[in-house]
């Protein structure tokens, strides 16, 4: 234990030096800002700033970049709650109940609970990294393709739970998402699928572009149709802080979300996005009145917000302990280290303790700054709702376009954005929720990848999925969950039929 304290003291020495504190503050402020702006995400921002880090000491560079990443998780929820647009892909689920709360005049409590949940999760995740990083990294190594496949399957089944409307619609949206996920080059054979000979589709459809189109663009179009509805929202802003009742409802979702996020964050692929979806599904499943979800349940904001922040931070574990990136942002961090002449790998922790512990301690400092930065700002953000839509919407549209363009510097992505904008509008009109589609889109390709890899390694033996204890258990859980979800609705349908 004292070794841990010594290590943290080493880290504090680095992280709390005036220069590093200033850069950390700059990082989290910038992160909050790009989190709020739809479309402009941490990937685009960090890649733009990468050349600048060339001139900074390695610790300072990593502290700044890390600050941008977890700062964006804070900021992303603001746009989700206020205008129903995910500022970040990981805040897609926050739209569901956060925006519903805002419509009921509870934008303040929604934003506060999001900031508080993120802060709690950030602190716990920092502690988790400090005490268990090596153990957790080895745990992640235990996960082979069969285990990942089982996990993705569970996630997909949980996606059905996300939907608040008809089950058939939810399944339809998931399958549509799976279909979009197949666009691009097949990993195992190199064959192009559904690319129609367009070179820009060879790498598949970009997630940021797709979610911006489906959420942001369609939201603008839908709101242009119904101007009156929005004026009601303008007058009812309500109070800023959550009530005692809100707190009571949120405590356990925050704790559970933090736990889920810390676990899922270390696994490659999903990270923050997957953990927020998972947390929402869990909260809705165990809630006494699941009907409240999608209609402004504060648990549906608190849990996922805690989960995405915890996941964002623990995704540093594979990077710092093994030198392996678990998501594209971490791959950029590796780039930042290589620019500095540091080779990422298992030796970092022992060879560069001030870098390793400095980054960890800076995360805690950064989270504190974020909560101080965000809570008083809520009053100001809410004023945004008073901005006339004729000004707000063109601004948001412009930012979306800039954000999407900046990911690959490609105009073709704007065409894709428009296509998904139209599609999102149609979904709203026919009453289909887009969240399951996005989850299908994220998980589908991973599901296929791990399924086929597991089969290559087992030389075609399908029993590998159930023989293995971890994957067997997870698949059993998925099956049970599917039964729980499907059975009542079948029963209900039969009852309805009998009544007729």
């Amino acid at each position: 234990m004292s070794a841990l304290f010594d290590a943290i003291a080493t880290g504090a020495h680095t992280a709390l030096s005036p220069t590093n504190l200033i850069y950390c503050f700059g990082g989290v402020t910038l992160g909050t800002l790009i989190g709020i702006l739809p479309g402009l995400g941490p990937i685009a921002t960090i890649s733009m700033l990468l050349p600048v880090t060339f001139y900074l000491p390695p610790e300072t560079a990593l502290i700044t970049l890390a600050g941008i990443y977890y700062g964006a998780q804070y900021g992303g929820s603001t746009t989700a709650v206020l205008v129903n647009m995910p500022g970040e892909s990981s805040s897609v689920v926050t739209c569901l109940d956060g925006y519903a709360m805002a419509r009921q005049g509870k934008a303040g409590p929604a934003l506060s609970i999001a900031a508080i949940a993120s802060f709690f999760a950030g602190c716990v995740a920092t502690l988790v990294i400090a005490s268990f990083a090596p153990v957790l990294a080895n745990f992640a190594l235990e996960f082979g393709p069969a285990e990942y496949f089982a996990l993705m399957l569970l996630g997909l089944v949980a996606a059905v739970v996300l939907a608040s409307g008809s089950l058939v619609n939810a399944f339809a949206m998931i399958f549509l998402g799976l279909l979009f996920g197949t666009v691009g080059t097949d990993l195992n054979t190199g064959v192009e699928r559904f690319t129609f000979g367009i070179p820009k589709l060879v790498d598949g459809v970009d997630f940021v572009t797709m979610s911006m189109g489906i959420f942001a663009i369609s939201e603008i179009v839908v709101n242009l149709e119904s101007v009156q509805e929005r004026t009601i929202l303008k007058e009812k802003i309500g109070r800023l802080l959550p009530s005692a009742e809100d707190f009571k409802r949120s405590i356990w979702p925050i704790v559970r979300g933090t736990g889920l996020g810390s676990m899922l964050g270390i696994l490659p692929g999903g990270g923050a996005v997957l953990s927020s979806f998972a947390s929402y599904a869990v909260e809705k499943r165990i809630a006494k009145e699941p009907g409240r979800f999608g209609k402004g349940a504060i648990e549906g904001v608190a849990g996922p917000e805690a989960a995405n922040n915890a996941g964002a931070q623990t995704s540093f574990i594979p990077l710092l302990t093994l030198g392996i990136p678990s998501n594209p942002v971490m791959a950029l961090m590796i780039g930042a280290m290589m620019i500095q002449g540091i080779t990422p790998g298992p030796q970092i922790m022992t060879a560069k303790p001030d870098l390793f512990w400095g980054v960890i301690v800076s995360m805690w400092a950064g989270n504190l700054m974020l909560v101080i930065l965000n809570l008083p700002m809520i009053g100001i953000w809410i004023q945004l709702l008073k901005v006339p839509y004729r000004l707000l919407y063109p601004t948001i549209l412009l930012l979306c376009v800039i954000g999407v363009y900046s990911v690959n510097n490609a105009t073709f992505d704007l065409v894709i954005l428009s296509v998904f904008g139209v599609m999102g509008y149609v979904f709203v009109k026919i009453g289909c929720e887009p969240a399951p589609l996005l989850l299908g889109f994220i998980l589908g390709p991973l599901l296929e990848e791990y399924f086929r890899r597991a089969l290559i390694m087992s030389h075609g033996d399908l029993s590998v999925f159930v023989r293995n204890p971890i994957s067997g258990t997870i698949i059993a859980m998925a099956a049970v969950l599917l039964l729980i979800v499907v059975l009542p609705s079948i029963r209900k349908k039969r009852e309805e039929a009998f009544q007729e």
């Binding site: 990468l50 594979p318 620019i339 290559i456």
Partner: protein, 313 residues
């Protein structure tokens, strides 16, 4: 009055004259240069582009703006340079894979930057210590050993195919999305073999999870002189990656020469050299003609191998 007019005319004449001199020498560069990296930021090509770009900027006083245009294994970015104006203001920092038979004629080789070797790594539990023992082991256990690659047709895949072809052995191919994922499964022994770049593999050797059996260069690589080349046991084996700068085909020769000279100077700068070493590479200076010849040979070699692999499927 007349006198003053004469002075003005004289001055004007001198100006035009000096302009003409500048024109004939092609004053290059007179505005910022764009260097396209056809991969996402943070990778080897990106780091090299920024290092070389900075040196070109110091030399000419014109900024070199690095722009990442990833997609389709680098081909999208390379094609864009192929379509640009041939004026030397749009450059490509290419790596193996981005330049293919389809776009090679639209690009003008400027300078090869480096040809880093790959390494043959196996999980530490595999009971072999040398390449020769490894080949023997594979012959005893055909198709039982899995190798990781960063995708179908990637350098890590092709190196393994070449190895199997020359050593008459068989392994099962497990493709991944990127080197990192492959290394992850290699250190946890989900796959046992991988041909990968040194900077991704060497740290894991220090941690005792994997062993390096050989380098893929024809001879010992100066930076890793203690590691024998795979070719010592598998004659004819050579599979190096490459990084190099290309311009659009049709760029005037004197501009290509200026760029080539500046790049050669940049990569031999001590600070650049040191950072390159950290990436597992040493500079490989040369003329545009050298680079052209290298590219021709390299693309032909892999195209032939790929068609052989396709044929056996």
């Amino acid at each position: 009055m007349l006198k003053r007019t004469a002075v003005v005319f004289g001055a004007l004449l001198m100006l035009t004259a000096s302009n003409a001199v500048a024109w004939s020498q092609t004053k290059y560069p007179e505005h910022p240069i764009k260097m396209i990296v056809p991969f996402p930021p943070g990778g080897g090509a990106d780091v090299l582009a920024r290092m070389v770009g900075q040196k070109l900027n110091e030399r000419w006083g014109q900024p070199v703006v690095v722009e990442n245009k990833p997609g389709n294994a680098g081909i999208i970015g390379a094609n864009e340079v192929g379509r640009s104006k041939p004026d030397g203001y749009t450059l490509l920092m290419a790596a193996s894979g981005a330049v293919v038979a389809n776009n090679i004629d639209r690009l003008a080789p400027v300078a090869l930057v480096t040809t880093p070797p790959y390494m043959l790594a196996v999980h530490e539990s595999l009971p072999v210590k040398t390449v020769a023992e490894f080949v023997e082991y594979l012959k005893k256990n055909p198709k039982a050993v899995n190798f990781a690659s960063s995708g179908v047709g990637s350098a890590s895949h092709l190196a393994a195919e070449l190895f199997m072809g020359l050593s008459k052995t068989q392994m099962t191919h497990v493709p991944y999305k990127g080197i990192g994922q492959g290394v992850n499964d290699l250190i946890s022994n989900k796959v046992s073999v991988m041909f990968g770049p040194p900077q991704a593999l060497l740290p894991q050797v220090a941690a005792g999870r994997i062993k390096i059996l050989g380098v893929t260069s024809k001879e010992r690589y100066p930076l890793f002189a203690e590691i024998p080349p795979v070719a010592e046991s598998v004659p004819g084996f050579e599979a190096v990656g490459w990084y190099g700068i290309l311009a659009t085909a049709g760029t005037p020769d004197d501009i290509v020469k200026q760029l080539s000279d500046a790049t050669n100077a940049a990569i031999q700068d001590p600070t650049v050299k040191e950072r390159m070493n950290a990436l597992g590479a040493t500079p490989r200076p040369g003329t545009p003609a050298d680079f052209r010849a290298f590219l021709k040979q390299d693309t032909a070699k892999w195209a032939e191998l790929l068609s052989k692999v396709e044929a056996t499927k």
